[in-house]
Amino acid sequence: MKRPPLRVAVLAHGHPRLSAGGAEIASHALHRAFTAMPEVESLFVACAAGPPPHDGTALAGLKGEPRDLLLHAGPVDGFTIAASDHDALEADLLPALADFRPDVVHLHHVFGFGADLLPRLRRALPEAVIVVTFHEYAALCRSDGQMVKAGTLDLCHQPSPAACHGCFPHEPAGRFVVRERFLKAMLGAADHFVSPSRFLKDRHVAWGLDPDRFSVLPNGLAGADPAPHRPEVAAGTARPVRFGFFGQLNPYKGIDVLLEAVARIPQAHWPEGACLLVAGCHLEKQRPAFQARVEALLAAAGPRVRLHGPYRNEDLPALMATVDWVVVPSVWWENAPVVIQEAFLHRRPVIGSGLGGIAEAVRPGVDGLHARPGDADALAAALRHAMDADGLWARLAAGIRPPVAAEAAARRHVDLYRDILARKAGSALGDDTLARAAEG
């Protein structure tokens, strides 16, 4: 007998057409892959900033995306990640979901909607499976979910109310206790959690979430033809001396560390034709001190750095084609950086900070190199090693495993949903369904 389609509502804190963050891209890619699967019906609801465009509803559509909805839910409380305005959830989101009758509600982040949507969802859709995918450490860390110390950007290894109070002295430690208990209570309403990396899962388990309710599922990456390697490098007639940085130009991504590392390599060791391509954006949104530092480093680097600026996703293959290595010098833990998946899709070895999700994704000596995070000298040494070591690039490029495709990732998600549904149905049968059947 043909099974009825699995109805999945994917809820994300943003739409990639409005905000091209990694979580937005990953969640929408998942939805896209679902829509291509005949056994799945998918609805994508993304939060959108600003006032609702239509009278009488917080919902809006998006041209060209017939199964996508935008919810203008208002801002969430920055401290607790709780919804600050429940009307849009109650009056628009919940009825829309009720009409869709989802078997699965899959939230990516709880940003946008607010963590307190979870128990409300549980009450409104008691039969549905609720899944939450974490894309960073927002539940653990008030500091943009980055788990770095406010101000210094030192890595935070163990959040605690006292430590968080140290980062935010104007907030008493007691508020962080409430924040933690609130978020744990809200997340407790979910049936299952998904982490794109083991590292992120381990952090959340260490924080107190149930490991038995966790799965590690990589984000899928929409398929594309790999960008060709530079022919002379591929042929071994030229050294692989071109590096690429792709991402936002913010302090967490370590662009300043990378620029400083490039500047520290003596001219004698900087080969002819060597270059760092910086393809990134949002420098203008950073604090003035950081902007000034990056601009000064760019000026110091001179012709060693080629500043490309923002790029569109479809421009990425062409940009990749100009570089031999991708550098991911982040100074925060990261999760499962899309840029590493993209680098591996295009078969570029990665030189990355040896921490967190980067260390998990990049295997040193196999498909990339590790450098001590935040250490410009160590990164400079890694860059020199990459340029100088004979055969290294070819060996690492050959060791790259292609990233999980979006379709495969979607399939794994569907398998997970069905597994949870089956377990849930089993427990329900164990409770009263069997009894009712017996009575019938």
Binding site: H86, D116, A162, A173, G174, F182, A185
Partner: protein
């Protein structure tokens, strides 16, 4: 100048003084008759009979005499009740004279001293008697036995009591010209008895009847301290401080110390006077009508001059000081007047002092309840200062007998350039002080320095309104060293905390229900201070508890009202049943909970203050279930941890250590629990006074309540595997508060005298 007064016959004065007579007649008499003693007096006619005169039978000396024998009616005493312990009696026969021991009571067993003013005139002899009613008098006042030469003479008392006014009128008529003397003597005697208002009123009537014109009061004022400044002219006045009665709507007794000085406008025999009149109760200067002074030759009336000057309080000392140079009087009188002339007059006289004495007040806090805390410094190299006081209105307190001296190395260098000190220095740097006083008004405060023969100088105190936190800050800043701080907390802070606690008047301003169902067996009681930042997430945490018990939120009214719309939305979103209790005059969540419990409407309360959060959903449900299982007289507390995982309270576990809870599960009986977060029978919580008390720290208040619950017979249990997390807000003065709490908790009587009373 009015140098004349109307000639007044004393007997006429009595009759012509309706105001004064009203003081003791009519309603007062009725009221007194309602007293138990008066009832006995009225209800026992037989017992009131007395024997008098030559036929009076003597009390049998034998111990088996049971009753005073009755006497002839003609010799009866007519009695009126002045108050429940004093009778005014009148007899038309000789009874005695002066302070006389008499026996009263059914068996004559009570010996008391009566004041008898007798007379003998053309219309016969008589007596007016002040007769104290002894405590424990059984039966009625049936007779009075007066010791005579041949033994006790028994005088029957007329069965029915009459108004004191009637007694006086009868006596005035019978005594005739002798009455003023009789009245004066009794007035003097009355003023020696305990100062009850009815006696003062009677004394006023008698003294008024006895007094002859003696002068005028031309200026009168009331000092801030409540006593009176009087100035005018008089003939003879006692040199030493003398008893007086001030005639006013409510007459007062007192003592007048007045110095005399010559005045050119007065005839021979009259001189000016200026004095201070200490009275036994408040008198409005403008309402006084006469000052009656007892002199060696009888009572003198200083009537209030028609165009008298009513002097403002701050001007009273100056009026006295103006005459000190030319005035004369005995040392005691002169000293009293000089001291009054040196009183605080609203301005700084300390800075004008020519002596090498300097004083500064750095901070001064006026606390609710009349407490005052101040710190400053005193530079007194020649030890001229006899005392340092603080005053305000009628209240005052000495500071230097309780202050703590503190090193202030900055004082000496700062005063080096003071030319008035001429390089004088003190041997050490202990010029600083911290002091406190209680029972002071909020305004009009001043500090006074007694310089002995050089008088008293003052400085107005600019006291800032303060609260407990400000007090902690003051001590914290003054005592950086822990050992000194502990001593200062004990000496200064603890006495002030009692006043602070007594001054609080928390009340419920209103209740609002959001789907709340009164009458449920259980309710979660959450309390908040004015910061409601965490209210919504805390409510949301309750939403995931499968038990979904009704929630009572108690918080300061102003803040809570502002949050009502958000709470309504959240309650609707999560389907919560909430009762809001709007509280006035509460500062922290525990205080709000103490109030909110009254309106919680449940048998059991789960107490969740704003600094405690259950570690996991279901914690509250587990506590409630454990309490219900334990019985109606049980309270159950969870393991309470700090946010760093160390023990805040966990039964007998040591505080501050890492939690070692291995193997401990279920309900464990303990001697007492910390009620900081627990499930408790609501009535027990209320009966124990909730969290009220002088303790500052939340942990201390929880422990103190736990003690009170245990003392009240509530059985205490610890549910080891139920965990809640508690935090304390960081506060700069936490050190001082902790010291105070430690001392209070170490007090042997923390459960009753100092802490908590039924809300």
């Amino acid at each position: 100048m009015a140098a004349d007064t109307p000639e007044t016959d004393s007997a006429k004065r009595l009759v012509a003084a309706p105001d004064a007579m009203r003081l003791i007649a009519g309603p007062d008499a009725k009221r007194l008759a309602a007293e138990p003693d008066a009832k006995r007096l009225v209800a026992a006619p037989d017992a009131m009979r007395l024997v008098a005169g030559p036929d009076a039978k003597r009390l049998p000396a034998e111990p088996d005499a049971k009753r005073l024998p009755a006497g002839p009616d003609a010799m009866r005493l007519v009695a009126g009740l002045v108050d429940r312990r004093l009778v005014l009696a009148f007899g038309r026969h000789p009874v005695g004279d002066g302070a006389t021991p008499v026996r009263v009571g059914a068996d004559g067993a009570h010996l008391v001293e009566a004041d008898i003013a007798g007379w003998s005139g053309p219309d016969g002899a008589g007596a007016l008697i002040l007769l104290p009613i002894p405590r424990g008098l059984r039966g009625s006042l049936s007779a009075v036995a007066v010791d005579g030469e041949g033994g006790p003479v028994v005088h029957p008392v007329q069965p029915k009591a009459v108004p004191v006014e009637a007694v006086l009128k009868s006596a005035a008529a019978a005594a005739g010209a002798a009455f003023p003397t009789v009245a004066g003597r009794l007035a003097s005697a009355l003023l020696k008895l305990e100062p009850f208002p009815d006696r003062t009123r009677l004394a006023a009537v008698l003294a008024h009847a006895a007094a002859t014109p003696g002068g005028l009061v031309e200026a009168i004022g009331r000092f801030a301290a409540g006593d009176l400044m009087v100035k005018g002219w008089a003939g003879d006045l006692p040199g030493e401080p003398a008893p007086v009665v001030v005639l006013a709507p409510e007459p007062r007794r007192g003592r007048l110390a007045a110095v005399r000085f010559p005045r050119a406008d007065l005839p021979e025999g009259r001189r000016g006077y200026a004095g201070v009149l200490a009275v036994d109760g408040p008198v409005e200067a403008a309402a006084a009508t006469a000052v009656l002074v007892e002199t060696a030759s009888g009572w003198r009336a200083l009537d209030l001059y028609r165009d008298r000057l009513v002097v403002e309080p701050d001007a009273c000392p100056g009026h006295l000081a103006a005459h000190l140079a030319e005035a004369s009087g005995p040392p005691e009188t002169a000293a009293a007047v000089r001291a009054a002339a040196c009183r605080f007059a609203g301005r700084d006289t300390l800075s004008e002092v020519a002596l090498p004495v300097r004083l500064g007040v750095d901070r001064c806090l006026a606390l609710p309840g009349g407490g005052l805390a101040l710190c400053g410094w005193l530079f007194d190299p020649e030890r001229r200062v006899r005392a340092v006081m603080v005053g305000g209105g009628p209240a005052g307190a000495r500071l230097d007998d309780r202050w703590t001296r503190i090193a202030r190395p900055d004082v000496r260098p700062a005063l080096r350039a003071d030319p008035g000190l001429d390089g004088r220095s003190e041997p050490d740097a202990l010029q600083g002080f911290l002091a406190h006083a209680t029972g002071l008004p909020a305004g009009g405060l001043h500090i006074s320095v007694d310089l002995g023969p050089d008088g008293v100088v003052h400085r107005p105190l600019d006291a800032r309104p303060g609260d407990r936190d400000a007090l902690h800050d003051l001590l914290d800043a003054t005592f950086p060293l822990p050992a000194a701080a502990a001593a200062a907390v004990e000496r200064h802070l603890l006495p002030l905390l009692d006043g602070l606690e007594a001054a609080r008047a928390p009340s419920i301003a209103g209740v609002e229900d959001i789907g709340f169902q009164p009458g449920a067996r259980t309710a979660v009681l959450m309390g908040f201070g004015p910061d409601l930042a965490d209210l919504l997430p805390r409510l949301a945490i309750q939403a995931v508890d499968p038990d979904r018990t009704g929630i009572v939120v108690a918080a300061p009214a102003r803040a809570l009202r502002a949050a009502v719309p958000e709470i309504r939305r959240l309650a609707a979103f999560h389907d919560l049943k909430v009762r809001l209790v709007f509280c006035d005059d509460v500062a922290v969540g525990l205080d709000a909970m103490t109030l909110g419990a009254r309106e919680a409407g449940a048998d059991w309360l789960a107490l969740v203050p704003d600094h405690v959060v259950p570690a996991a959903p279901g914690t509250i449900r587990a506590l409630l279930a454990a309490a219900r299982a334990a019985g109606p007289d049980a309270a159950v507390a969870p393991t309470l941890l700090h946010d760093d995982g160390t023990v805040r309270w966990a039964g007998p576990a040591r505080k501050g250590r890492p939690a070692q809870l291995m193997g401990l599960k279920g309900r464990i009986a303990v001697e007492m629990l910390s009620a900081e977060c627990c499930v408790v029978p609501r009535q027990a919580f209320l009966a124990a006074g909730g969290y009220r008390g002088p303790l500052t720290g939340r942990a201390g208040r929880g422990e103190a309540l736990g003690r009170r619950l245990a003392a009240a017979g509530v059985r205490s249990f610890w549910l080891a595997d139920a965990i809640a997390i508690a935090t304390d807000p960081p506060r700069p003065a936490e050190r001082i508060a902790r010291l105070a709490d430690r001392l209070l908790l170490a007090s042997p009587v923390p459960t009753s005298a100092r802490e908590g009373r039924a809300a």
